[in-house]
Amino acid sequence: MLPLVCALGAFMVPRAGRWLTLVAAAGLSLITWDMARVALSHGAQRYPLAGWGAPLGIELYADGAAVLMLALTVTVMGSVSLYAGEYFSSKHRHQNGSAHEGRAVFFWPLWLFLWCGLNALFLSADIFNLYVTLELVGLAAVTLAALEGGPGALLAATRYLLVSLLASFCFLLGVAVLYAGAATLDIELLRQSMTPGPLAWAGVSFMVTGLLIKTAVFPVHFWLPPAHAQASTPVSAVLSALVVKASFYLLFRLWFDLFSAVAKPPSAEFLASLGAAAVIWGSIQALRQERLKLLVAYSTVAQVGYLLLAIPLVHATNDSSGWAGCFYWALSHGCAKAAMFLAAGNLLWAAGHDRIAELGGAAKQLGLSMFAFLLAAVSLAGLPPSGGFIAKWLLLSASLASGQWEKAVVLVLGGLLTAAYSVRVLRQAFVPATASEQPPRPVPRLLEWIAVSLSLLALLLGFYANPIVRLLQVGAPRAGQAFTGGL
């Protein structure tokens, strides 16, 4: 609720947008902290809105994974808000052109609407609300991506919008089919009344297709790289770190809470093979890119693949290491990818372009940003002691424990490829600058420090694994529980 109120406020008082956002960030961090405490001590919570419970009313549901996604949202949105405040600040107007100020007016309300949509999405407990929040997030994200204003960004945003609408209709069609079968929308009640059969199968496959398109899973990833690369820096960071995760989170949640009653193991394997293809294809595309932001965007395509790869692992393992590893990856990728996009944005800010071949001298001039890029790359490649390492470790041990060694191979290969394209950027950055270039534009210190702190956070996730994994286990599905109906 808080971001919604602030969004309306920011719409009416454009000048206050930046400060209202910070108020929202502070309030939400307190709320999230409290929810984490409650979830740890009392288990997963259900909150009936306005006192009306299911099946008629709308309920919110918060387990460990939901609370952690909320925490990730508040962390990334909060720090990127600080970044955006400086980025859109009128101090830099003469450098950015006058259109910039106009954009900032629309930026804050949309930003808060996106935030509000994300929070609602992570907490929703019925499938129609999920559709509405998915749509809310999609529309806010498209508009933010279009805000950059150039022809490239507009085309990319339009493509994003069309694809996202199609995916929503697919999802809604699935909702309609499931409703026809079970006459309820609540996830918990649906699970109890769902029976395997062609109807449930059709509904589930429509919903999964819609979510796969929204998550930009290979081979329906084509809309993501241009849309993420063309948006302005704070927007790219949040699109890649959070918005893609949101639809993935739905897929994961629905898969284990709902679909596992009707889906059979081969379908989980099918999703995993899509994930493996995404890891390989996305990484190879990232290696081939000439532009830095496109490289980072393709790297998102690859890293979403890991998340799908984890689905059969969750089914196969008795402890929740597959589940925990997957969400741990989502967390560390969220922080690291946001940091990487911010660092790339700083380079773009300084040089006016993001051609990798002409990055020479960046390490000297933007040492902090390159440091952030390096730390983020360490976490994305899964090197110790980062958060990415813990996630990969959990996933690797899950895949080896269940004898699915081919997934372990993909995990390791993906890490190597990530290291390869990161090193390619870093190597260019250490080449001395060519003399003929125009003098670079100074980058505000704050922008650099935010990138560094997010990447440090991704690294620190490697040291504080214990409480987080414990929180993830609140409400995590057990292997015995999943797949009882389908087999």
Binding site: L162, F169, L185, L294
Partner: protein, 105 residues
């Protein structure tokens, strides 16, 4: 509503959905794409409405109606946004079309 009627609505909805999907992929012009999406959406809404049908003589289930209303509101706002965006694309590039391949420029 008799049950053969319901089947008719379900089939018509599915046909509209597929038709819209085809048109979305086949036409280059943005306005046609937006219309195609709306046709698809109507198909989904038709299916939703058809699911409201209960046993013979019973009152229809009100929940799908509420869902369709919400869906229409969402579709209208999304269409508005799509129209604005395609207008902007037209201003910026001179034609309201998406290039064939993903543009990286």
């Amino acid at each position: 509503m008799t049950s053969s009627n319901v089947d008719f609505f379900l089939l018509a909805g599915a046909a509209l959905f597929c038709l819209g999907f085809y048109a979305l992929a086949a036409h280059a012009h943005l306005l046609r794409k937006i219309l195609a999406l709306n046709v698809s959406g109507s198909g989904v809404f038709l299916i939703l409405i058809a699911t409201a049908h209960g046993p013979e003589g019973a009152a229809p289930d009100p929940v799908p109606h509420a869902l369709v209303l919400t869906g229409i509101v969402v579709a209208v706002s999304a269409t508005a946004l799509a129209l604005v965006l395609s207008g902007r694309v037209h201003e910026a590039t001179g034609k309201a079309e998406l290039p064939a391949g993903p543009s990286d420029s």
